[in-house]
């Protein structure tokens, strides 16, 4: 069975006035189908950069990224759009909901692009909203919702086209502990009951502890990749397996 994600020596350079900045410096990572992985690391270490590449929002400067066995560099714009639409669900740190649309319409939007009929997508969007616990607020605009509620809408939206892979960039960062745990529980149940592969970026050791595998990143490099040991969670493992 091919791995769902396979990054081979991925490098990402950013150009700026100050010169070239290497945000990812040869990342190699394999994630199998059905895994629940957390990515940790200090601020600026390259976690979001990595997530954007995995989510096909950005492309590596060098190295190969395979999704389900296919080199993403060979995919057309249309194929990439289709992958972002139905293959991958992305939950952003800043929610990234469309402010003019209702919660329901936000959740239904990926299904607009995949061509689901209006009745069907509204029904599914409502079901998804209910499953994240805000089935009573389909008509609310994002601005009328709390941060936690907006995050739930974002999670519901990421699940709209039943993706194989769920990417969440600090999904609990903006939430209180209790809500954070609830959102995490949602990811766990998706992973366990529906076999969705989940990758979560987090700063919170308690969140990472609930996953099966922790990947630690520093200065654009993977230097820990293994079970959620205390050392891995609290960063004392620095240098240990580098």
């Amino acid at each position: 069975m091919t791995a769902l994600l396979a990054l081979d020596n991925v490098i990402k350079d950013y150009q700026s006035e100050a010169g070239t900045f290497r945000a990812l410096d040869g990342v190699s990572l394999v994630v199998e189908k059905g895994e629940l992985v957390s990515i940790m690391g200090p601020s600026g270490s390259g976690k979001s950069t990595l997530m954007n590449i995995i989510g096909c929002l950005d492309t590596p400067t060098a190295g190969i990224y395979r999704f389900d066995g296919t080199d993403t560099a060979t995919l057309s714009e249309t194929a990439l759009a289709r992958l972002r639409n139905a293959g991958i669900g992305f939950v952003f740190q800043q929610f990234n909901l469309l402010p003019r649309l209702s919660a329901l319409a936000n959740v239904a939007l990926p299904m607009v692009y995949s061509g689901v009929a209006k009745r069907d997508r509204d029904m599914r969007a409502q079901t998804l909203l209910a499953s994240v616990g805000i089935g009573d607020k389909p008509k609310s605009r994002p601005s009328q919702l709390s941060g936690g509620q907006q995050q739930r809408v974002a999670v519901a939206r990421s699940l709209a086209n039943s993706p194989e892979l769920l990417l969440a960039d600090e999904p609990t960062g903006a939430l209180d502990t209790k809500t954070g745990i609830e959102v995490l529980a949602l990811f766990r149940s998706l992973n366990e009951q529906q076999g969705v592969t989940v990758v979560i970026v987090t700063h919170d050791p308690e969140v990472a502890r609930a996953t099966n595998r922790v990947v630690r990143i520093q200065d654009g490099r993977v230097f820990y990749d293994g079970p959620p040991t205390e050392a891995a969670l609290y960063g004392h493992a620095e240098g240990a397996t580098a």
């Binding site: 989510g55 950005d58 714009e77 759009a81 990234n96 469309l98 003019r100």
Partner: protein, 405 residues
């Protein structure tokens, strides 16, 4: 999907209501101008062609008095210089089919209790032929009745309506200047003339009757004008020259004298008039089209601003799976909606203005379905043409760059 996108385009326009309306203003003005001009142009042309149809083709009109308007000249039709025998001589010129002398007196006409101020035209039976005017009901008078000065009258539609309303005027008696006239016929409707005057507001009586009974003594033998029907359009100029030569000789004018009559070639005048009005309305429509293009540029401008403002929105849409084609379609639809909405309002405004203008000028201004479909087709093209570039710019954004903005 397209329905959803239309709904979204609509809500995007609604979200920026004021800006949308201001953007549409250019289209509104352009479309309204084009619609108005086509309506007025169409109205004028309809008017002109109706007038031509009612004129009789290849018609020359000889009028008494100088054609020149010097300070001391009384203007055409003022002098008592044309006589009945002038008409007889003109009738003998080559290529002249008929020449109908006629005179014109304003008169108060009475039928029973009803009074109506109108024109009484005295002429010969050829008058109806020359003017291509046919009788609708009853008959016109005969040569014999004309020579005998029979007290009969043929009514124009307006006069018949005013004097008799719904009842049948045939066989009834009317009085004009103290003379009793029996109604023997009612003419077909002719409609308006160039100046908007009602050409059905007239009574035609035999020329002899008019000269003897209705016209003042001083002008007993003189007539106001002679309508001349010419065999073909090609012969018009030659006949016009022949008439001038003939009348100058019979009126014994010296070489230094001005003509004491004038000859008008109405066919030529109406031809010029119709080409001129067509040219003018085309010109005005062209000016309207320029403002349409300006309106289109306004749409492009606002769409570019909108794409810049909504870069993040575009990024989000791409991140959740919108293809470049879908993004382009979204912005194209917005541009198209702006232009078509502007067009719709423009058509409404233009139609309203055309109706007001029609009332004001006094003739029909018809907004045709053709003009409206042209307006919508042009607006749609403008929306797509000027929306294309902004929409393509939106579609070309990279998802991650757009998300970061």
């Amino acid at each position: 999907m397209i329905v959803t996108m239309l709904a979204e385009a609509w809500s995007a326009l609604i979200a920026n209501r004021l800006r949308s309306v201001l953007t549409m203003l250019g289209m509104i003005i352009g479309v309204a101008a084009v619609i108005l001009m086509l309506a007025i142009g169409g109205g004028v042309q309809k008017q002109v062609s109706e007038s031509i149809a009612g004129l009789g083709s290849n018609l020359l009109i000889v009028t008494a008095g100088s054609g020149r308007s010097g300070p001391l000249s009384g203007g055409a039709g003022s002098g008592a210089t044309l006589r009945i025998d002038d008409a007889d001589r003109i009738a003998e010129i080559d290529n002249v089919v008929a020449a109908a002398p006629s005179t014109n007196v304003p008169a108060q006409v009475v039928a029973g209790p009803i009074n109506w101020a109108t024109q009484v035209t005295g002429s010969v039976p050829a008058y109806f032929l020359v003017n291509e005017w046919t009788v609708g009901d009853g008959r016109t008078f005969t040569e014999r009745e004309e020579r005998a000065g029979a007290r009969v009258a043929v009514l124009g539609q307006t006069v018949a309506d005013k004097l008799f309303g719904a009842s049948d005027p045939l066989g009834q008696t009317i009085r004009a200047k103290g003379v009793s006239l029996r109604v023997i016929g009612i003419m077909e409707k002719r409609g308006q003339g160039f100046g908007g005057q009602d050409r059905d507001d007239v009574i035609i009586v035999p020329l002899t009757t008019a000269l003897r009974l209705l016209q003042g003594n001083a002008f007993r033998r003189s007539i106001r004008s002679i309508s001349v029907s010419v065999a073909s359009a090609d012969a018009l100029d030659q006949v016009e020259r022949d008439i001038t030569y003939l009348l100058r000789r019979t009126h014994r004018l010296k070489a230094s004298d001005d003509d004491d009559f004038s000859v008008a070639n109405l066919t030529a005048i109406t031809d010029t008039l119709s080409t001129t009005t067509a040219a003018i309305s085309l010109l005005l429509a062209a000016i309207g089209s320029i403002s349409l293009v300006v309106g289109g540029i306004g749409i492009m401008n606002i769409m570019l601003v909108s794409v810049t403002e909504r870069t993040r929105e575009i990024g989000i849409r791409m991140a959740i799976g919108a293809s470049r084609a879908a993004v382009r379609l979204q912005f194209l639809l917005e541009a198209l909606m702006l232009s078509l909405l502007g067009c719709g309002i423009g058509v409404a405004v233009g139609t309203g203005l055309a109706m007001v203008a029609g009332k004001f000028i006094g003739f029909d201004t018809a907004v045709t379905l053709f003009a409206i479909s042209i307006a919508f087709a042009v607006s749609a093209s403008i929306g797509i043409f000027f929306g294309w570039w902004p929409a393509t710019r939106a579609a070309k954004l990279s998802p991650i760059e757009a998300l970061r903005s």
